[in-house]
């Protein structure tokens, strides 16, 4: 079973009430999103930007054991 580390940023870290969690048994990023929305329903109000191992992804992407996943709201730097 896959075991991955998920790190939250910005308003999403606030909604998760912690900077990161471990997730088990998610095989791709679509599944990841579903599981997060189940666990944190308030996140549904926000767009997610997802990076797997520091690569931004823009379509459903498979997840491998040990992957580092970043779940980010829209950027607002500068």
């Amino acid at each position: 079973m896959t075991n991955v580390n998920v790190t939250f940023y910005g308003v999403l870290a606030e909604l998760a009430q912690k900077p990161s969690i471990s997730l088990h048994g998610v095989s791709d990023t679509d599944e990841l999103k579903q599981q997060l929305l189940q666990q944190y329903p308030d996140m549904a109000k926000h767009n997610f930007i997802v990076a797997v191992n520091n690569q931004l992804i823009n379509k459903n992407t498979s997840i491998t054991n040990g992957d580092q996943i970043a779940v980010m709201p829209p950027f607002s730097g500068g």
């Binding site: 930007i49 990076a51 970043a70 950027f75 607002s76 730097g77 500068g78």
Partner: protein
Amino acid sequence: MSNNEPYSFTFFEGAITPITVSTLLQSCSSDQSAGAYSVFFGQVRADEIDMKKVTAIDYSANRELSAAIMRQIGTDAFKEHNAHSVHVVHSLGEVKAGELCLMVMVTCGHRKESFAACEYVVERLKKELPVWGKELLSDASYSWKINK
């Protein structure tokens, strides 16, 4: 940040100071084929949001991903805009209204290239850099910043 490499990207704790700026400027003067420096500074504005004033912005970032994305933007500026050097400093943590939170410096051979290259880097980093600003308001509430 103040080396002679043509590219640098730094997160800076708190507000960017004029010292940071002059150090960076000095580090570029060895390039005698650069005729033009275009520099952009972002300053935290005391905007009003729902009748409350922004007193500061608290910045957080995905640092590793920011480094990778900023390097790509820099590489593109060298290739597409003939930049001789690209240096970026972004604040992390709290920056008060009236203080500097962003500095982008681009050097080029000629002025028109430098205007275009600097604007290019600023626009791209505003869109693409995984950084978040939490606007702290005068009544101790806050609001997550949204970039336009």
